[in-house]
Amino acid sequence: MTLPGANPLSALAPDLPPLKSIDFKPPAGDRVVLDNGMVVYLMKDNTLPVVHVTAFIHTGKLNDPADKIGLGELTAGLLKDGGTEKYKPGEIDRKLEFLGASVETSIGNEEARADMTALKKDLDEVLDIYAQVLMKPAFGTDKVKIKRDEALETINRRNDDPGRAAMREAVRRFYGPDHPYGWRAETGTVNAATIADMKAYHANFYRPNNIILAAAGDFASTGGMLAKLKKKFGNWPKGEVKFPAIPPVRIEGKRHIYHIEKDIAQTFIVMLQKGVKRLDPIEYPLTVTNEMLGGGLSSRLAAEIRSRKGLAYSVYSYFAKKPDYGYIVGYCGTKPETYSQALSEMLKQFKLIKSEPAPAEEVDRARDSIVNSFVFKFPTPFELITERAAYEYYGYAPDYLDNYVESIAKTDPAAVLETAKKLFKPEDAMLLVIGSSKKFDKPLSDFGPVTELKEED
């Protein structure tokens, strides 16, 4: 068997049928809007006696008050842990844990979630707890103290893992420590959030008209499941949700280096550039471009910095979409003694892809890789229906998923070049580096003006 590199697949063994395109249209599922405005997605799946529910609550850490950063996280974390009007906290834990069921509530930068899993036989019992948790949390004083102490201790430990710290601090410096896209909770802001604040936060954001819920699993019929949900949530009154104004992002857009001195075996480098707004269709060619540049082990960054030069284990790029400008990341962990080689190569690869047209074969492969693995967005009916709910939540057109493959498939080498030219400005990228400068092979200042930060800053 020979597999020449130019077109590897055509040379697979002669008895292999040509690769077929993947024929999978994701099922739509059912979408219903309750009278109180709650959007419900449903899909029946009788393969296993399990039911999953998730809810997207339209808020996020970016909606915290500036002097109470952490309020959203405390509120979300306490919906279950703080008990409800009907159930004491200990009672919830005992019931759920005895049944092997789970109800978990959490918050990210731009979304709050409430997840539930139950065996079919326990659905009614667990769904009742889940609904109470969403609608009627009690924020018990003892539990608030435990949750707050946990948040404070987590702040205390936030620099333990330098790889994670590097990414967090880079984004914080990129948007500025005072902008909701970049800020982080501090001891003072967590301590400032009162139980009254949590109740008010819940009353404002946790409203049916501010929630998209998705359920899939072993129910007899979608109509039956919908009736259960209506019974639990139907009387939850609508409410006007007040969203704080998020100031427009201001990105400096010129080279600046932040360095945090730490005596560790590896140096962690994060490179950030201005990215794209969430609904900008440039995401399609950018997805292909990123796949080529830093999307996997055969991408340019991994091939050059990892496989060819042996300078890193972890090296990649990606982009984060936001309502306002997102960011484009290059990331690398490398030894301090040769860090400048890895960093120079990373900068060089961002420059190369915007200055020379990519070979068509490389663009085809990146595109095929995305198109042919599209089906993996939906490994189970629950994940499929959750994707649909998520895209609605983030404001995409209803047929976004259905047209995704076609939109990606339009990307050609010219589109990649144009996208890279428009978005990549490695010479102006912000860099954040955590590492032991005593071992650096070159001073960081060779790459631009440096501001020294302390871990505690």
Binding site: G5, L9, L99, N156, S307, S369, P379
Partner: protein, 507 residues
Amino acid sequence: MNALALLPVLPLCCASLSAAREDKDALPAGASMEKDPKYPPVVSYTLKNGLQLLILEKTFVPTVSFTMLFKVGNVDNPQGKTGLAHLFEHMAFKGTKTINSSGYDKEKAALDKVEAAAQALLAGEAASPPDAKKLEELRAKFNEAEKEADKLIIKDEYLKIYNTLGENGMNAMTSTDYTGYVVSLPASRLEAWMIIESDRFKNAVLREFYKERSVVMEERRMSESDPNRVQWEALFSNAFRAHPYHNPTLGWMDDIKSLTRTDAENFFAQYYVPGNATLSVIGDVKAAEVIKLAEKYFGGWKGRPPAKRAYAEEPAQTAEKKVEVTFKAKPSLRIGFHNPGMDSPDIYALLMVSEVLSNGKTGRFYKNLVEGRQLALYAGSYFSTPGNRYPSLFVVAAAPKAPHTLDEVDAAVMEVIERLKTVPPTQWELDKILNNYEADMIRQLESNPGLGMNLAHNQQVMGDWKYEWKIGSELRKVKPEDVSKAAAKYLTRANRTAVFLREPAAE
């Protein structure tokens, strides 16, 4: 509610399997489908060369998940060559005689030159005292040889083929006990996978070895920068003195530095044999088709017994070991107690000990340390780490919540354990655990790659793909007093190694 009344209720996981089968879907002689409704209807088949197949048809999306799992891991490294199993795993992505190569005959000669130059360089580096000038020459010669060999490579072709096929989750993992290779593909790529992977394990060529060795050194540095990994490594290397569970799977840096391509080739020849592997295939495929193609492509893989293995048994620990690790991170605690191994009848009670202590917010650690006394940020346990092939450790991980100290948390952890020795769990505590176990067994069927890894691991390492279901029935036999007895027997001071990670003193 009595959990025992609920058992066993595991359903068939694929409605489609009850449909009438066409002839072409009929299973060949030697293949059998599990009929007992307690288990998923897995089809088992063993090739003449010893390769075991496990196939489960699941049809929601047209995808298929593969796990090829070998019973070879970090314990199987030769003396002084820790990390070799893991480095080999990296090398298994570097192609074959036909993939990643522009022509193997020519390339082989070039690779042999690289190897000779690498070994000369290693010998030079080991010389005492080192000869700086000679070392420089040896390094130049090595670089030159590598450069020549690189010209004959088709770079990353193996990876690129999978990109085009539409892979998802392509990865590999090395543990103390096993090495697994995983990928999911659109289901129509079944035969492509068979062609590529049979070639991979029959004809692997370990090109770009010395660059990948540098990548692994970076992986090691990443690990050395992470206090959590540093602390686990300190626990295993101190708890085990003689048995190879002492060694980190990444390898000791000094060992990695001296690994050669020849080492990796020998390792490959010794352990990567079909009788040492299980292949699980889960997804939208027909079992008969999988078997037919496996026969076609893997049938010619020459069977031979894997190398014999005999490792020093860990001598009984007779006194407590306390280890201090200084690292710029907030304090945390890791404790290990030697367990009797998975073959011991005590292991089921010990698993229950772990669950009684740390299953959820109603577990004793959470109730006592996090919620009650509010000393700890977290406290958890697991009954068998870092492996299952040999007696291993029952471990506890905990961290204090400031201003409480590591020593307070340690004392409190031991108090909760002591109490369990005298106050057996209630029936409620045990039933809760059994219910959770059962729910987990159902939920694990949801993820194709997760299930595939689980089945292959249990078949190849534990000897039976139904292993976890069988543990479930053993757990049901455990009585409350058995749990206390197991805690009293194994979670003792003399059997304990505790690692305290603390920040350096302020300058």
